[in-house]
Amino acid sequence: MKLILTGILAGLLAATAARADEMVFTSWGGTTQEAQTKSWAAPFEASSGIKVLQDGPTDYGKLKAMVEGGSVAWDVVDVEMDFAIKAAKDGLLEPIDFNVVPKADLDPRFTTDHAVGSFYYSFVLAWNKGAVSGEPAGWADMFDLAKFPGKRTFYKWSAPGVIEIALLADGVPADNLYPLDLDRAFKKLDTIKSEIVWWDSGAQSQQLIASGEAAFGQLWNGRVFALEQEGADVGASWNQNLTAADVLVIPKGSKNKVSAMKFLAAATSPKSQAMFAEASGYAPINTAAKAEMPADVVKSLPDAYVDGQINLDMNYWAENRDKIAERWYAWQAK
């Protein structure tokens, strides 16, 4: 008996000793996190000797609870950029140590004092070729029930994207989107509300389009990329594609801050960013990454569609997220 106890104790000690060289990376799961594990965590583990444990999915409530409760189990978290801006203001994040994380080549659109870009994506218009006759040319066609009948799918949560799409479809010029005219957007959305199916995860958006359950959809370009790779019969329009970024943050009170900073440096390096872009179809946030990628991969990234590309205004959203969310959910529940 005593022997067993000693054994268990020794095991526990070994486990706590090993923890010194461990850190926890949290992201959204699915193909995205698989690509992050392969492109960022694996090479980082090999070069630094620090073990990267994976957790997820990202949950803002949990992040807040950890920081406020003083027991932070996550060291690096992949979050949406508007959340990062708000969370930094609320004191939930560690400032980034740019002595450890080289900043020079990082896209300044996606770098703040408390966050570095993870990858950036575009919302594009995707459709099932079997369920749609003709080629929708842009967001306005998604709101044209006469020309393009059928269900359309949009992102369910209150986040940058759908409101902008409604306004663009209603004829608001791209450089005149902000501040968002919510009344106008919801009026436009009302016209197709009965035909909307909501998706709340990337996998679901793929399933809806691939099965033809929804004829069209607002999808993350990486999800369309994956569908195309699997041979699904989908079309995509990059006209007025809307870009937004995920960013990497370190929750305040992270127990492995030093390792976390090193991880950020590795994850945002040209090589790791290029590997991830190749695996996921999302664009790198390190401007030097393009040189590391095959030309045909570069062609399929949002980087190749900058004509007419619209940057979603993350600062505006960080500022107004709560107000918009309240209206968004009230409108949905109606």
Binding site: D59, Y60, G61, K62, K64, K151, K156, W157, S158, V197, W198, S211, G212, E213, D322, A325, E326, Y329, A330, Q332, A333, K334
Partner: protein, 286 residues
């Protein structure tokens, strides 16, 4: 001497008084009372002290709608579950025991299958391009897919399926205790099968219906996964709203208030159940 004393003591002594219940009470306090008090405190202190979170919940049309949805879904699901479960339970009660245990096994097995798996299976069956709609269209019964998902229909189908075992089990217990001879007696006295059901079987099985019905109702009130996946945004239920407030909006004050209301309603219904079923039990209902 001391050996003697030891022998005289019963090996398992029933703990008596508060002292004996102390370990259990400590657990309840730690894992139930403390979090609930914290919840209540949060709901009246965030973002500023006061009852404004409760005022918002009861005053805002959106939230009252969600409350209404929650009770509507729970009521519909409970009613349908009772109707579907009754014949199944009756069959189980009068079946030969060997066959009965097989059917019982199937019901229990479905209960143990992962909830998410079962809900996703319903999504596959119910969607516009799903098995049910495809079949109905192929045999020419309908020309347009029926809206079976992302609405109250989808939620009801999915939840009734999941709640059935919780209704069947208590019902079988009650039905088995009813003497089949009472039904034969009714028939001999000239009662039609319906009359016998209405005046004998139904009243005698009421305790089981009440027990199962309340359990299903209470469980439905707080249900999350199935309504979220099979319902639309306009059928949002309380649990989904709480999750949204806690996870996405980080409005913990309002979320806590909503959770506290749900808890109070649930506890009240539980108390009612204890009274109802307990009373019946005392009069020999079960």
């Amino acid at each position: 001497m001391s050996g003697n004393l030891l022998h005289r003591q019963p090996i398992l002594r029933r703990p008596d008084g508060i002292g004996g219940a102390l370990p259990a009470l400590t657990l309840v306090a730690l894992f139930f009372v403390v979090p609930v008090v914290a919840l209540l405190l949060r709901s009246v202190t965030e973002p500023v002290p006061g009852l404004h979170n409760y005022a918002t919940l009861f005053g805002d049309g959106t939230y009252t709608r969600v409350f209404f949805n929650t009770f509507l879904v729970a009521t519909v699901v409970t009613a349908v579950t009772i109707i579907v479960a009754f014949p199944v339970a009756w069959m189980l009660a009068i079946m030969p025991p060997a066959l009965g245990s097989i059917v019982f096994g199937i019901i229990i097995l479905s209960m143990w299958t992962n909830l998410l798996t079962r809900t996703y299976a319903w999504m596959v069956l119910l969607q516009r391009t799903g098995v049910i709609n495809r079949t109905l269209m192929d045999i020419g019964l309908i020309s347009e897919p029926l809206p079976l998902i992302n609405n109250l229909t989808g939620v009801t189908i999915g939840m009734v399926y999941i709640m059935l075992p919780f209704m069947i089990l208590p019902l079988v217990g009650t039905l088995r205790a009813i003497d089949p001879m009472t039904l034969r007696a009714a028939a001999l006295c000239g009662a039609s099968p319906f009359e016998a059901f209405r005046r004998i079987l139904l009243p005698l099985s009421l305790p089981g219906i009440a027990a199962g019905g309340l359990m299903v109702f209470v469980m439905s009130l707080g249900y999350f996964v199935t309504p979220t996946l099979l319902g639309g945004t306009s059928n949002m239920m309380l649990a989904a709203m709480i999750a949204q407030m806690i996870q996405s909006l980080l409005n913990w004050g309002l979320g806590s208030a909503a959770a506290f209301i749900l808890l109070v309603v649930t506890m009240a219904l539980y108390a009612l159940q204890l009274r109802l079923v307990g009373a019946k039990r005392m009069t020999g209902g079960i």
